[in-house]
């Protein structure tokens, strides 16, 4: 085990927390680099507020994508659902190829401005990696292990819960990791339709020609995505079966 202080999670986490809570410390830097912009630090909302709102948006969308994605994968890998496999794959692929901005444009008339269309777009966009990895993970369970599980007298549900899902977990989690990381970055476009995210300073900065705001929002969203990715990678190592 590495010493804790060498862990990138710690350093990225500290940097993220510092910028989140006390961006003000960088004010002289921004004053020097962009003399014309006042105020130097984005102040329409606190960065902490943006963080909670951004986090909630991604958590709800990715949480739903994870539950639905795994459920779909389980369904199409059962004998009864195998006919739907291609359909589910195509549907998930369409969700991914459809640009989130287009989903937003279509969802706003139905769901109104704010976080709801953003959640919708993130959910659809995040579904594919989870569905695909979950199917691959479940199908990757060796045939001999499945045969043994049913031959020992495990019921289908017991075989799924105790054997298939635990063995598929690392591959499923890799899909969740990709999905969540992409989701954190993509959520910023929600600010175009009024959701509060780290995209808010970016859009404000672009609209008002205030480059420091763009930099502040971009730094925070990048660190947020990297930190989450590192933490999920660590979780995957803990959950991996031995060998």
């Amino acid at each position: 085990m590495r010493a804790a202080w060498k862990s990138p999670v710690l350093w990225v986490g500290l940097l993220f927390a510092f910028l989140l809570l006390d961006m003000r410390q960088l004010q002289p830097l921004f004053t020097a680099a962009f003399p014309g912009v006042r105020p130097e630090i984005f102040d329409r909302a606190s960065f902490l507020e943006l963080f909670w709102s951004h986090l909630a948006l991604v958590a709800v969308a990715s949480g739903a994508a994870t539950v639905v994605g795994i459920a779909l994968a389980v369904f199409v890998t059962r004998p009864a659902g195998s006919d739907f496999r291609t359909l589910v794959n195509v549907a998930a692929t369409i969700g991914q190829t459809f640009p989130p901005a287009a989903v937003l444009a279509l969802a706003v008339p139905a769901l109104g401005f704010g976080p709801r269309p953003t959640m919708m777009a993130l959910f659809l966009y995040g579904l594919l990696p989870i569905v695909e990895n979950s199917i691959a993970g479940i199908e990757g369970v060796p045939a001999a292990v499945r045969d043994a599980a049913s031959g020992m007298g495990l019921s289908r549900w017991q075989a799924l819960r105790d054997v298939e899902l635990p063995l598929a977990a690392p591959v499923i989690l890799a899909g969740v990791r990709v999905s969540v990381t992409i989701g954190i970055g993509t959520a910023t476009i929600g600010s175009a339709v009024g959701a509060l995210t780290f995209g808010t300073p970016i859009f404000d900065g672009l609209a008002g020609n205030k480059l420091p705001y763009v930099i502040q929002g971009a730094m925070l969203v990048a660190l947020f995505a990297i930190l989450t990715d590192l933490m999920l990678a660590r979780l995957a190592r803990v959950l991996s079966p031995p060998g």
Partner: protein, 311 residues
Amino acid sequence: MIEPMIDIEHVSKAYDGRIVVDDLSLAVPQGAFCVLLGPSGCGKSTTLRMINRLVDFDSGAIRVGGEDVLLAPPEALRRRIGYVIQSSGLFPHWRIGDNIATVPRLLGWPREQIDARVGELLTLLRLDPAIYRGKFPHQLSGGEQQRVGVARALAADPDVLLMDEPFAAVDPITRDALQVEIARIHRETGKTIIFVTHDIEEALRVATVIAILDKGRLAQLGTPIDIVENPKSDFVRGFIGAQGIGLKLLSVRRVGERMRAGESADGKPISQHATLAEALGTMTEQRRDRLPVADGEGRVVGVITLADLVR
């Protein structure tokens, strides 16, 4: 007449119109070590898997311990039948102890009883519980994994053990050792064993009764000696191999059948359960024409000579 432990009556099975098991009837008495032997595609594995309903049969009936297998839910049936497969099928994310405990846990045994049983089984399979109980399957050799597979199948003390080419994927030396072990476990536990293989030598070594299958039908049923001495058809004769019948006979007869009781000789004793082929090998190796014979406990009970082998 005593009810057979496994009774297969006029069972047929077809996949997409291709018949794999064709009106097969086979009664296996309690305590038998029955080997289903045949070339690939003869229906032996399918027959085995129909007994615990991993494969559904189209017609006929199968009874285990007098009870129709279709009456109970398949999970309940499988929990009272041991099952061993070729590539062990151990659950890679569970420790050896938990793997062996699979069926007892499904049956809801109390924790202490399960722990005691796991220790007992590891010892039976000659794996030290203190070392092996906490290991993961990938830390074991192929032969050790296969032993654990057998222990797992025996865990809930089933009357019947189904083994589907259990030793086909291990190296020849390990396979020999495992064959000796399974024959010993059969003698010690008195389980009824159905064992699928395509390897005639393996069948002759372990079986008390051999069922040779050809295209889903029973080609011949008999003891190993019957099969080698009186093959009923060209198929059986071809399958057991026309070459080396004499050597095959040596490998199906046991030292105990030919020894002279009460006499004794010098040298390292050979077990009375060893085959005549093994006795011949030992004599050649030690350059002796007389060997002392020991019983299961290692006591010298007689002598076997070179002349006794060809008598």
